[in-house]
Symmetry: C2
Subunit: 492 residues, 2 copies
């Protein structure tokens, strides 16, 4: 008889572009989210948690920062509907603001934190699931709402451990750009293509430099490979207005806005944009947020195609070393702005909205790069097992420690090889091991081994200062808790 064919074993792999988070990676993120939530709460924002799944219809062709709308989501068909994983937290907010518009307070101030999914080609350091952490105000037409978001972003960065001076929040305004485009002769309905070229060109300022952008504003640009990108066809005077906009930042906000007023001339929308920037700067100054934290900076160009009014971006200004060992600025960790047509898709009514999104994983990477995450060992006290028949006694020890708030566990693997138990304690970053065998139980004592000290001694065996701290002590069973408590205190 032929043997039945075996089904091959499944592969135990994380799907491509996804990753697993272990131990401190999880707690560090949770602590950061809790700190951010604390600030958002203090500013009067309420939490909202929508599910990971939305109808494709509600999500819409709406992916920001992506040239090909409606790509980039994980979607599947159900009956005649399509469902998809949310790609950000803004699209679900738009759906909620429309769906509950009769019952939600107005303005509606909400924060949301959680994973979002992007169906993109995975790459090094690019994941298809990541955390976002947003706060938005829906229904507030005043730029006071935008100023407040900037102040809150500043407080948030400091609350999670980025000290003042290590970050800057830059504020720009899409309306000023519109004014500049008008002055450059690109305001008509027939100039849509040219405006697109200009937006994409200034988006490439970082990469191409001013000259590269200038070429794209004019006839076009041939790149290193010889490929030619058609330009917006502006004459030199008009191109200079655009370049002047990107380069308008001065030492203080008032001078910057004055420069922008020169550039936008009589353009109504341009003047409105300058007025808004000025008001934001005034409101922030009234709350004590000066240019050491928040600056007017027209070179913030990310998201200008998406937002309709003020735009802001938080950048970390310290240097880190990249994967090739070169120093570079850490860069952007949060961004946001005003988008007044968010809810309109659903209701037809324009509702003013403004908000910010923090890239939690990038912010964690920044703190990690600066060594600002607490990596102190916080492993459990390990009660080792010398005699399996004494399991109840070992469990009694950990119960006593746990009730006193001390993290502790009994070694629950095969206890035969004692070396394995100490290796396990080492792998768990255990601060202390408790050892008790037949002899100890007879005499009603336990051995307490300081594993941190043990590791120190292993590194530097001559250290004089350790002499008074014996690495292993024997204490009566009744004094175990007190002695362990003392040892943990000494270690920290």
């Amino acid at each position: 008889m032929a043997k039945p064919k075996k089904t091959p074993r499944p592969k135990a792999v994380t799907p491509k572009g996804f990753r697993d988070y272990f131990g401190a990676e999880v707690t560090h993120r949770n602590e950061m989210l809790a700190r951010i939530a604390e600030v958002y709460h203090r500013y009067g924002f309420d939490p909202l948690e929508t599910s990971g799944v939305e109808t494709v219809e509600a999500l819409g062709k709406f992916l920001p920062d992506v040239d090909r709308p409606n790509e980039g989501v994980f979607a599947w068909e159900e009956d005649s509907d399509w469902l998809a994983l949310r790609y950000d937290l803004t699209a679900p907010l738009a759906r909620v603001a429309a769906q509950y518009r009769d019952t939600l307070p107005s303005p509606y101030r909400r924060y949301a934190m959680g994973p979002v999914w992007r169906n993109e080609k995975p790459g090094p350091g690019r994941f298809r699931q990541f955390y976002q952490c947003d706060a938005d105000t829906v229904g507030a037409p005043s730029v006071a709402a935008d100023a407040e978001i900037c102040a809150m972003l500043s407080d948030t960065l400091e609350a999670v451990g980025i000290p003042r001076g290590d970050y800057v929040i830059r504020v720009n305004n899409r309306k000023v750009l519109n004014g500049v485009l008008e002055v450059a002769g690109l305001s008509g309905d027939d100039k849509d293509a040219e405006r697109g070229i200009v937006l994409r060109a200034i988006d490439k300022l970082d990469r191409l430099g001013v000259e590269g952008v200038r070429a794209l504003l004019g006839e076009g640009r041939k790149d290193e490979s010889g490929d030619f990108t058609k330009g917006a066809g502006l004459d030199d005077t008009s191109a200079e207005v655009i370049v002047g906009f990107m380069d308008a930042k001065r030492d203080d906000g008032a001078t910057t806005v004055a420069r922008l007023r020169e550039l936008v001339g009589d353009s109504q929308i341009g003047v409105a944009g300058c007025d808004e920037l000025e008001l934001i700067a005034d409101l922030l100054a009234a709350q004590g947020y000066g240019p050491d934290r928040i600056v007017i900076d027209p070179s913030v160009v990310r998201g200008l195609g998406y937002y309709t009014g003020p735009v802001f971006e938080a950048e970390l200004t310290f240097e880190v070393t990249d994967e090739k060992g070169r120093p570079r600025n850490f860069g952007s960790v949060a961004g946001g702005g005003r988008y007044d047509d968010l809810v309109k898709r659903f209701t037809g009514q324009e509702v003013p909205a403004t908000g910010v999104s923090i890239g939690v994983d990038r912010l964690l990477a920044a703190l990690h790069a600066k060594g600002r995450l607490d990596t102190k060992a916080s492993g459990p006290v390990i009660v080792t097992v010398m005699d399996k028949a004494r399991m109840a006694d070992y469990q009694n020890m950990v119960a006593e420690l746990r009730q006193a708030g001390i993290r502790a566990e009994v070694y629950l693997g095969n206890p035969k090889n004692f070396g394995n138990q100490l290796k396990y304690a080492d792998k768990r970053d255990s601060p202390i091991a408790v050892i008790a065998g037949g002899d100890e139980f007879d005499r009603d004592v336990v051995q307490i081994k300081d594993l941190i000290l043990g590791a120190e001694i292993a590194k530097d065996a001559t250290a004089e200062e350790w002499k008074d701290r014996p690495q292993q002590v024997e204490v009566p069973r009744t004094e175990m808790l007190a002695r362990i408590r003392q040892m943990l205190e000494d270690q920290s």
Copy 2:
């Protein structure tokens, strides 16, 4: 010229079977998760967070508690692979334990909390995304690991606000059932179908009662509609052994185990199961967990088909009123057990594992039903806007409050109608409103309105005790913070 056809507006609806969580619903859950994590941490478990997406291959045909395996997941094709949303936190743990088996500590003790997705027909109160909160020990053969999980579950329930006496954790053992099946003549490979019928029958004990189960153990049972379900065909003596098993619970653990020993007779696996139950009871007693918290109870039948050793279930014992106004026991909020073939699918090696899963949403519903969730108003202090030109001054007030740790915001809607501002404050559960117009600014004072007291007075205008606490006071601007702090203290 024909008008271009308009695309219809998208519908703003939560997808069927999903829901949105607002405000306190989110914070209550987060607080509960944090409290559970604190207990899990103290017991030596480390967090693990896998992504929501797994390969269908890794998930396997493994859905527990579902008759039709491989149904019930949300899945989609990607290139030649299939991806799916996780349906629980155990399948990803199996994948991780296999994938990282060379680097993880062994035993691997991990906890995980997060949403899982089930592609089921939505029904009232049944959602397709919900939270699970699991702790598992992988690689610990000793039932000390099971006992520990039960103790931890008990501590966890008390930590989240279920007092002792309001819950019970029942412990059973699949091996005892196997012994009973052996005695009943159902141990052979050819009795697989009959064993399935018995397992499904005892699973229906709650619904059918002992007589219904007895019928299914014998020839079969005709239900009220006249449909006939074929039985396991046991004779009366054998059926009595099974019924005896379900009914074996006695006043104390020792007597229960003695009764089970009678039932399993010489069955080797049955005796092993009884030994395990006895050891679990001993270990728990050594840690002080008596039958007021954890009991040996063979009527725990849920999951017996899935688990391979000890099985446990936490039940809330207080009564709640169901949607039809009838009192009923709240029922199960957590369950778990030992499943020794979890990792084998991937590696071929049997790895002992045991764990527990808490139904966070059900536990929240229980606390809600008992009125044990903190529903005290924690809305922000609202600084109202009497004069739009004074926005910087209003922002300055909230900045001062926030820096003092007080939740506060300026009203950012259209300030024209002052009544709307107070309605907004009411909707936000605001404790205090600050009011300042031209007159107040001239005299450098603010009006502070106690909205909680206002609501009390509105309810009971004659209340004598409120006389000394004026509902609205005028204070110098410099005393605003101190007065608000005092008022918030008086309110709480």
